[in-house]
Subunit: 282 residues, 2 copies
């Protein structure tokens, strides 16, 4: 079952290249074989794949930290919500938004950096994401499994300290890589009618599309044992018995907010990013 | 010549899957055949590929606007630095960071949105980038060419108006798609020794790596006719004759700042994004 089957998207078979066939089978993997070692040269190939993604103005404003050390992986697993699979994965790559290199090269050439505005944060975060997506798909094409870990932003100061990230650099996405022992089925996504807009943005299909998605997601077991308590209740409140699927799960998360990431802005400022308009003029 | 050749990266041939082979041949395409029409069902396949990328917590906080209308494409080309290839491409996809849908579903379920902090901007921007990278590679695997267009952020208010983007949505990346009439060679990237860090971030290889990269890039012709005037000089100052390659080009850009994007922060606030820590508490 690939994404076309799961999402019931009719597809022109002439368009099914091996690349697309790989993409539409993507599932996040959270169970790795800790015994099976990775092929020689894997990291270099994944980095070449990552570097082959587009990058804004060829700034290449991203870096990746390869973490294989057992103790460091264990610490990162602790910092990322105690997600044990990070520890278990033979390889953990930490993709970073990197403006340090751009600051360094500006100074080296004798100039003063004058790109302190939120656009640079976006450029670097987007560059790191484009790179990470290629690395993940490349790994999957080799029979490996991956899981992107946004929880790398839960305790960003500790990650900076552990990985010795300089000012102007922060971790955007962790990528756990290894041979999968368990593969879950492809997860349904929202209908294309909700995500794809023709010529202009429209909410016209939103209500019906979310309702259909909720009906489908309720059958996947995704939320069993993962019910988020209602906003206002403590995080360890006993589960209620309200109808529960994507909309309710997502709404509760949005209404509670993320307890660890609400202060990311303060961290980013301290780490050398400017979140507002320019402080220097041309 | 693929990325392994261009960047002189030794590669274990056992690791060259069709997917990786496709990635390492990526080049941005800026010349399209306006006569050759796109295959039926292309957009749906590209969206399925995009939806197959990872998304933070299955929030799916992105949308894509398919632009095919000639007048609208012409206007977008104007808004994006007058890049004529946008006009020429039979298809232009505008990837957006989308928190509108999350706000809508929170309200629909009867709750109050409490995720107004910079982390949500990052989640949505990163989601949109992961989706866009898959769509681009999928298109390339079909023999199409693509160019990602960050200039979609040059005049964000006009883009909002043209594409009728609601509050909580903004365009992160444009993607021009079409059959290429000109393909440039694969562009060298910084040596892996600069971008890839082992266990912890290190600047140890930065100076040597950038010097080697400068030597290589100087031979590609990338900067001929594209010299950025020195910081302090007007944008239309006559070109100087200093040594000029990636480091100098990049440093000058960073030292001048981007004239149109320095105010993106103000736009984002007006568009409903919060760029600082939480304003509401759990």
């Amino acid at each position: 079952m690939d994404r076309f089957d799961v999402d019931e998207t009719p597809v022109n078979p002439a368009l099914l290249t091996p690349v697309i066939h790989q993409m539409v089978r993507h599932t996040s993997v959270r169970h790795f074989d800790p015994e099976r070692s990775l092929p020689d040269g894997l990291v270099e190939v994944l980095v070449a794949a990552a570097q082959s993604a587009s990058t804004s103005s060829n700034f290449q404003s991203w870096s990746v930290i390869q973490v294989g050390d057992t103790g460091r992986k264990r610490t990162l697993a602790e910092l990322c919500d105690r997600q044990a699979f990070i520890d278990q994965a033979p390889l953990f790559l930490v993709f970073c938004a990197d403006t340090h290199r751009l600051r360094w090269v500006t100074r080296r050439q004798g100039y003063t950096f004058a790109s302190d505005y939120v656009e640079m944060l976006l450029v670097a975060a987007i560059d790191s994401a484009l790179a990470c997506q290629n690395a993940a798909l490349a790994a999957e094409s080799l029979g490996l499994g991956c899981c992107m870990v946004g929880a790398i932003r839960n305790r960003p100061r500790e990650v900076v300290e552990l990985l010795e990230l300089p000012r102007g650099v922060f971790a955007t996405i962790g990528l756990a890589v290894g041979y999968p022992t368990v593969r879950r089925p492809v997860k349904p996504r929202l209908p294309q009618s909700v995500v794809l807009h023709r010529e202009r943005y429209s909410d016209g299909n939103l209500e019906a599309g979310v309702a259909a998605y909720d009906a489908k997601m309720a059958g996947t077991g995704t939320y069993s044992g993962r019910r988020v308590p209602k906003p206002g209740l403590p995080a360890d409140a006993p589960p209620d018995s309200d109808p529960y699927s994507w909309a309710e799960h997502t709404a509760r998360r949005m209404a509670r907010g993320h307890p660890m990431r609400r202060d990311l802005g303060r961290f980013l400022r301290d780490q050398g990013f400017v979140l507002d308009q320019a402080t220097t003029a041309e």
